[in-house]
Amino acid sequence: MMTMTQKILAKAAGLKSVKAGQLIEAKLDLLLANDITGPVAINEFNKIGVTDVFDKAKIVLVPDHFVPNKDIKSAENSKQLREFAKGQGVINYFEVGEMGIEHCLLPEKGLVYPGSVVIGADSHTCTYGAVGAFSTGVGSTDLACGMAVGSTWFKAPAAIKFVLKGEPPKWVSGKDIILHIIGMIGVDGALYKSMEFVGDGIKYLSMDDRFTISNMAIEAGGKNGIFEVDEICLSYLKDRVTNEFETFTADEDAVYDMVYEIDLSQLKPTVAFPHLPDNTKTIDEVGDVPIDQVIIGSCTNGRLEDLRVAYEIMRGKKVDNRLRVIIIPGTQQIYLDALKLGYIEEFIKAGAVVSTPTCGPCLGGYMGILAKGERALSTTNRNFVGRMGHTESEVYLCSPAVAAASALTGKITGPGLI
């Protein structure tokens, strides 16, 4: 009777089964915070009155939003995070030289695995559903209490099943699939619910595609976005994860509030127009949209495959001279791999800038803030009013392929046309 998510939560709560709506107390396998949410969580943790975190191996602290520090206040936040990590003996603290954007970094380091229960004080913590984990975003106070006691409360969620069928056409990536889904169900279409991804079509999706899809479950209001674990996933985990783990599949008679069948072969590159991720158009409906800036990066699309696609489109060409093009590898390892593969050299020759890993411009932090009236095309995850800068600027969301093709033309362009 249970969904994948309900099975994981039942086990973590020490129960045989759970039903949608049931309140449970679940043991936590991993807790994550960054340089924005971490300091608030540490301040709250200190109010509890315990001296030590419940398990220093299960806390991950990653300064990634405003590092290398953009100003004095962010430097002080990072300092607080660093000193807490040192004082508590937190093993998984990643300093600037070995860091990455948290949701690119944790899977790469093998810290998340099937069946694990992960909370993070960052809304995109749902990314780890790609490896069959239950992972969800929480606030700093929830994280603080989790760090003290090692468990937290959940309401076992109802679920929506997405049966993915068929093979996506060339240039249709995980980003296009999830933008299509958000456009279809709306920014609150999965509110409080699990999004569970199954079907024959998932065998055509790389792990990087799946991370992108799970990452944006929150943009449909989802509590988590989880994939069934298959051979592709197991082979990704093989040399990374040292913990023993169990994989979960939904029962045949699991209850879903809704089931959608999606034929991936019919999808097209998709762009979300301002100011909500569900305001989507397929590339053939976009029209003439000139842009001022292109961003390729973020926890949504800063992985090696994202950079490879951009490289294949941009190599040997020049970015349009009306544009600023900013490329941000997701982790130091991805940066190094892209360097060895020659991607970085081609990006720079094409006229793009390449940054050290950071969330930077995605949330309007730094490294590419927009002026009044400017328009960015970005592989990031949100296009709310003022998200990347001035309240009268605009953000359009797309895949790395559309971003790279548009970098060459100066307006939103389908990769098939380059």
Binding site: L23, I48, V50, F66, G120, V187, I218, L363, G364, G386
Partner: protein, 164 residues
């Protein structure tokens, strides 16, 4: 427990980036957050808000980021309660954790206008629109969440649980 104040009225999908923009996230000082609350959506909010006032919105209030700065900014600005049709789940959870009362009620969300004087009784879920002479009912908090609110937030409840 009951609160009373004038209503600020907003629409669907009010996101955490407009509740407290990321350019202010370097600080976690409550006064500073309150000084910029809602400024990208409603520049007059900070000037007009008084202790006890109530925010009323439509669906999916607080969508987007997990930043606890968002309910903290609202609470620090003096708002006594938020009423909406639905909430993004992390915002909902964060509000309970920090002790910001938050109710779901379609009828109140549809019928309360900006400036209406509204009274909310948390124990019964009764919402009285004094200006329009109307009454609406929200579901009261589930007992479990009421317990967190009664303790003054999750930190205090955790302290109790640990015998501290």
């Amino acid at each position: 427990m009951a609160v009373k104040g004038k209503a600020f009225k907003y629409g669907d999908n009010i996101d955490t980036d407009v509740i407290i923009p990321a350019r202010y996230l370097s600080s976690s000082d409550e006064k500073e957050m309150a000084a910029h609350c809602m400024e990208d959506l409603d520049k007059n909010f900070v000037k007009e808000v008084e202790a006890g006032d109530i925010i009323v919105a439509l669906k999916n209030f607080g969508c987007g980021s997990s930043r606890e700065h968002a309910p903290l900014a609202i609470k620090s600005s003096g708002v006594s309660c938020v009423i909406a049709k639905t909430y993004a789940r992390i915002f909902y959870r964060n509000s309970i954790c920090i002790g910001l009362p938050i109710l779901e009620c379609d009828e109140a969300a549809d019928n309360i206008s900006k400036g209406d004087t509204v009274e909310v009784d948390f124990s019964s879920g009764k919402i009285t629109n004094i200006t329009k002479n109307e009454v609406y009912y929200a579901e009261p908090f589930p007992e479990f969440m009421q317990g967190i609110m009664d303790s003054g937030g999750l930190i205090n409840q955790t302290r109790k649980k640990l015998g501290l």
